[in-house]
Symmetry: C2
Amino acid sequence: MIYPKSLEKLINYYKKLPGIGEKNAERLALATLNFKDEDLENFSKSIIDVKDKLGKCKICGHLAEGDICSICSDSSREQNLICVIEDYKSVFSFEKAGNFNGVYHVLNGLISPADDIGPENINLASLVKRVEGLKKPELILALKSTIEGETTTLYIKKIFEKKDVMISRLSYGIPMGAEIDYLDIITLDKALEDRKKISE
Amino acid sequence: MIYPKSLEKLINYYKKLPGIGEKNAERLALATLNFKDEDLENFSKSIIDVKDKLGKCKICGHLAEGDICSICSDSSREQNLICVIEDYKSVFSFEKAGNFNGVYHVLNGLISPADDIGPENINLASLVKRVEGLKKPELILALKSTIEGETTTLYIKKIFEKKDVMISRLSYGIPMGAEIDYLDIITLDKALEDRKKISE
């Protein structure tokens, strides 16, 4: 055995993380070894803490410490403007961008018949119920533009189309800074379709 | 605050690791969140364990669980053939290569007057003592070819040159597979100087 046993164990846990290979795991483990005692204890504790303290928000399905997440319990946010997203990573992205003052609904998945994931397998029923209790609800569907994303978008649109709910989706188009001649044709087509009038 | 508190803490500890930036730390923390409960507990425990269980080998200075490392306590290895290295990362590299059957001496540093690191600040005194107790000792100096490495190599050579100790250093030369015309001139010079006769 090349590594002392306790070091080998730590290396193996680092290897379980995405994008961390053998060499990198060794490097991280050796760096961990050089942490101050206090940091080591707190690092160790913080791993247990995310398990013990984090659950799902009972309203939106986002990560929460306690029953309701910090966004749903923030009365300064528009609770009737709901951005529907695939998973909580998108919440962090929107919150970093920082311009959205509504709330979220985390589906924790997308409808995918090929993978046997139907509407009942994602966090949709709670969205229907949630919207029923709101005045002038507005849904922004922010799902990715894959078959699964589009299917889920259409399905949600169908559920709500006869109810008095305003529904929109994110615009498709050219990513900022991208070279037009390097874009794939589908994106280009969508950007053409979603073109906006230039206002004076 | 974008992240729940306990998640934010974990992200911050990942960020302390080398080469892990903001985005990557978030990715690792979210992946940790998806670990099985058992893995989470063991990962957390393994961080504390490296602190509690790993110390320095009293003979060679390498990482050890207990007083003596697994290499120094392996009687099948030639205890009088000592490879002198800068830090324990080199031990792992040699052990992975797998062709060295001697033992190591980990200096935990190199002599560097510019950084106020003298011979007394690295693990050298114990090497002198260690060599005294050996029959036909042989030292292989495997230090890097920087000013600090060369200084340390020369210093060690000087300590032992009047004693009956065989001393060698690793050969300098062309890395396997490297293009000759891309090599820096110092490496090329060293490779010329260290040239070996081709035996039939």
